[in-house]
């Protein structure tokens, strides 16, 4: 008799445990986990998963699913082979249902090939290359329809934003230094991704208003992405009489640039892309010489891009004691977008989820996310644009978009302050 009672209890336990185990969605979080980009992807996803699970999980049809994150170290900074193998392991051995993350474009290209082989929905949150989606989703929809990009905006849109920031600084030079035709130096790292941006910037700077900036390009300097000294370039820029330096730097050269520029007090204001200056460690890395450097970024402290921005930053900082970089806000938004699509689809079947994802209109911490026909995040006023930030008074402050007019729309975020030219630049050119 006792024997039967134990069997009944066991059957009951299995009956209770069975459906609970089946109601788990396993989401593979991909990234170079030894690097800040991968670590923040994991942190952002963790924050979202905890919030979603606390709220009772995701309702899909008649069932509720809890989210279980699977940490997948892609080691993509070192090896593309390793990255692609990690994705195959996540799908086949670790049995993940969906994929989120990825950072290095070259590796993400190989990783997405594996995801497409297995028809797994993959939300990219780190790589900016246009060609990861454009030319693949639109030309070979059946194979690549499972790919979406939540962050960042694609390279060509990053270029558009950085040129808008340049326009802001050129305006400041005209206004504060009373220079009618400002001189701009282009300092771009020697890398293929920077080439189209250099070409477009050169054309736009010299073109007459209103299409161009009616300014003058005094030269283009191309240091190595890993250069440890940019003094020769900076002294040449100073000799060329530039008031503005348009930076296109994604590699570690950003730090020596900031340090040398501040130490030599070069009388030209830097603005553009400087990935090193996007991080909260910037001032420490440049021995406090990187003040006044301006760069494109995704988030800035105290700037409410949407109602979700400040709570996200506050929760992230409380939980992980760091300021989130764009992969964190991307992974956080990706989980919510996926949860929303699953609820609308009412099933976890990949094709139905893809259709639901295509109809996404979600307001995340870094802006409103709507996918275009190549499954890329839409750029522009009312959607996601990025921020212009500058290091002032020991912290990162946003200066763009502020009264940004596009057609009838005016885009402005609370907490955005006017751009400030470095004092030694003002002093040098007012004399």
């Amino acid at each position: 008799m006792a024997h039967h009672r134990w069997l009944a209890l066991l059957a009951l336990a299995l009956a209770l445990a069975g459906p609970a185990a089946a109601q788990t969605l396993r989401i593979g979080i991909l990234g170079p986990m030894a690097f800040v980009q991968g670590e923040h992807t994991w942190h952002g996803a963790t924050l979202a998963a905890e919030e979603l699970n606390r709220a009772g999980g995701i309702a899909v049809g008649n069932q509720r699913y809890r989210i279980e994150l699977v940490r997948v170290d892609t080691n993509e900074m070192t090896s593309v082979t390793d990255a692609a193998t990690a994705v195959e392991r996540a799908i086949t051995a670790q049995r993940v249902d969906f994929l989120v993350g990825g950072f290095r474009s070259e590796a993400v290209l190989a990783m997405t090939e594996v995801a497409a082989d297995y028809r797994k929905v993959y939300l990219i949150t780190g790589a900016a290359l246009d060609g990861i989606l454009a030319g693949r989703v639109d030309r070979n929809y059946d194979r690549f329809k499972y790919l979406f990009r939540v962050s960042p905006t694609k390279s060509s849109d990053l270029a558009r934003t950085s040129l808008l920031l340049l326009g802001e600084v050129i305006q400041a030079v005209r206004r504060d230094l009373r220079v009618e035709r400002p001189k701009v130096a282009i300092l771009a790292e020697r890398a293929a991704w920077a080439d189209p941006l250099v070409e477009t910037a050169s054309r736009l700077i010299a073109a007459p208003a209103p299409q161009g900036y009616a300014s003058e390009v005094v030269g283009t300097w191309r240091p190595s992405a890993t250069a440890t000294d940019v003094t020769p370039e900076l002294t040449a820029i100073q000799r060329a009489g530039a008031q503005v330096i348009f930076t296109v730097l994604s590699g570690p050269v950003g730090v020596p640039f900031g340090r040398d520029w501040g130490r030599l007090k070069i009388p030209a204001a830097p603005v553009g892309i400087n990935v090193e200056a996007q991080q909260e460690t910037w001032l420490k890395a440049t021995d406090n010489l990187g003040a006044y450097v301006a760069t494109l970024n995704t988030l800035a402290p105290s700037v409410a891009i949407t109602p979700k921005t400040i709570p996200f930053i506050a929760n992230f900082q409380a939980r992980f004691r760091q300021f989130p970089i764009y992969t964190a806000s991307g992974a956080y938004a990706a989980l919510y977008i996926l949860a929303d699509a699953l609820q609308r689809a009412g099933t976890t079947a990949a094709d139905a989820v893809v259709r639901a994802l295509e109809a996404t209109d979600y307001v995340g911490p870094s802006g409103r996310l709507v996918f275009d026909r190549t499954h890329d995040v839409t750029w522009g006023p009312g959607y996601t644009t990025g921020l212009g930030v500058q290091w002032i008074e020991g912290r990162m402050q946003a200066f763009w978009p502020r009264q940004w007019r596009v057609g009838n729309q005016v885009v402005s975020y609370a907490g955005v302050r006017p751009y400030q030219l470095p004092p030694w630049v003002v002093e040098a050119w007012r004399r």
């Binding site: 986990m33 940490r71 170290d73 070192t78 090896s79 593309v80 082979t81 390793d82 692609a84 193998t85 990690a86 195959e88 392991r89 086949t92 051995a93 474009s105 070259e106 590796a107 290209l109 190989a110 090939e113 290359l129 060609g131 693949r136 070979n140 020697r190 890398a191 293929a192 991704w193 080439d195």
Partner: protein, 357 residues
């Protein structure tokens, strides 16, 4: 013992198997390894493990090609990724521009790598030792520069993606790669044991002496570069189509150093050493994914320990314990034998007794 008609007869094959293969632990292990590769899909068709084994076979071929050049002739190449990378790119570009299938573009890529091997080999006629290593190191860097110079053609720093697959399924790709790998290793092994292989050895030991006996070492060194580059190129083409991406990563310094680690770990100047090294280390790195934080540390520690206790590499270290060389006829015997299988001389002779003073 066997006439030409009986060469492939079953009794002869069995005798050969018994007396030439199973008689030696090293050869038995090699046979077991080949059988393991060929029969693995009968036991598991897990796509992840098929992928790991496929990539391991590609890299093992790459490492063995390095061994032929650097291990045998002593022409230490630190830029072997040049052959691996340009073959992948050539295959990708030929496929994209001319619409040729991988079955054609991969051999063409390997042939281009062969030409590149001769090109890289030319400096070896003038420079030696560390200087040659530095010269070889420059070639992948030059190739990278060219790739960034013509981004429309090469895809720039992001490479070329969406290459056609090697086969219709993971299993098909597995068998294609494994059969090519086994055939290539057999060719490399036979070559290394041939007269040419002996001369390669001799060049490494004393090039002047080889030249003095009338051997054209220039031709031999170029041959080593060409053959090695061909097989590295073959591996590079297979790799590009397996990943479906040909990128600058394939030309990185890391990719040049990897075959050196695998070869030194397995046993240099053996051909089967790099194969064993790659088949031990590459899957091990995958297993170590379970301990993500300790992965590289554990890997480095293991390599250091093996180098400390088996300085000749794993293969030599293990074989020296499993096999013994006959002191008279120099034929190798299993450690279990008391007498040499060829000349019958006693193998385990005790230490000579000390002569009483």
């Amino acid at each position: 013992m066997t006439g030409p008609l009986r060469l492939w007869s079953l009794p002869w094959a069995l005798l050969y198997l018994r007396h030439e293969v199973l008689a030696l632990p090293g050869r038995t292990l090699a046979l077991a390894f080949a059988l393991f590769l060929l029969l693995f899909p009968l036991f598991s068709q897990d796509p992840y493990w098929l992928r790991v084994l496929t990539l391991t076979a590609i890299f093992a071929l790459y490492a063995a090609s390095w061994d032929l050049l650097s291990g045998y002739t002593g022409q230490v190449s630190l830029g072997h990724a040049f052959f691996f990378g340009i073959s992948g790119y050539a295959s990708a570009i030929l496929g994209r521009e001319l619409g040729l299938p991988p079955g054609l573009t991969i051999p063409l890529g390997a042939l281009l790598a062969t030409l590149a091997g001769v090109l890289v080999g030319l400096p070896s006629l003038r420079v030696r030792g560390p200087y040659l290593s530095l010269v070889t190191l420059a070639f992948p860097i030059i190739a990278l520069g060219l790739i960034f110079l013509f981004p429309r053609f090469t895809g720039g720093e992001l490479g070329l993606s969406g290459l056609p697959r090697l086969g219709g399924s993971r299993l098909e790709e597995y068998y294609l790669v494994v059969l090519l790998f086994l055939a290539s290793i057999l060719v490399l092994w036979k070559l290394s044991g041939s007269r040419v292989g002996l001369l390669f050895h001799a060049i490494r030991e004393d090039e002047m002496a080889v030249r003095m006996v009338g051997v054209n070492t220039v031709r031999l060194k170029l041959l080593a570069f060409a053959v090695s580059a061909f097989f590295a190129g073959l591996a590079g083409g297979l790799h590009a189509h397996y990943l479906r991406v040909a990128g600058p990563d394939s030309l990185s310094l890391f990719n040049s150093i990897q075959p050196v680690i695998w070869t030194v770990f397995g046993g240099i100047a053996t051909i089967y050493g790099p194969v064993a090294g790659t088949f031990l280390l590459f899957p091990l790195l995958e297993v170590l994914r379970l301990a993500e934080e300790l992965r590289t540390l554990a890997f480095a520690l293991l390599v250091l320990l093996v180098m400390r206790f088996l300085p000749q590499g794993v293969v030599r270290g293990v074989l020296d314990r499993l096999e013994e060389e006959c002191p008279r006829c120099k034929i190798r015997n299993a450690f279990t034998r008391k007498r040499c299988r060829a000349c019958g001389v006693e193998l385990h002779l005790g230490r000579p007794k000390e002569v009483a003073r």
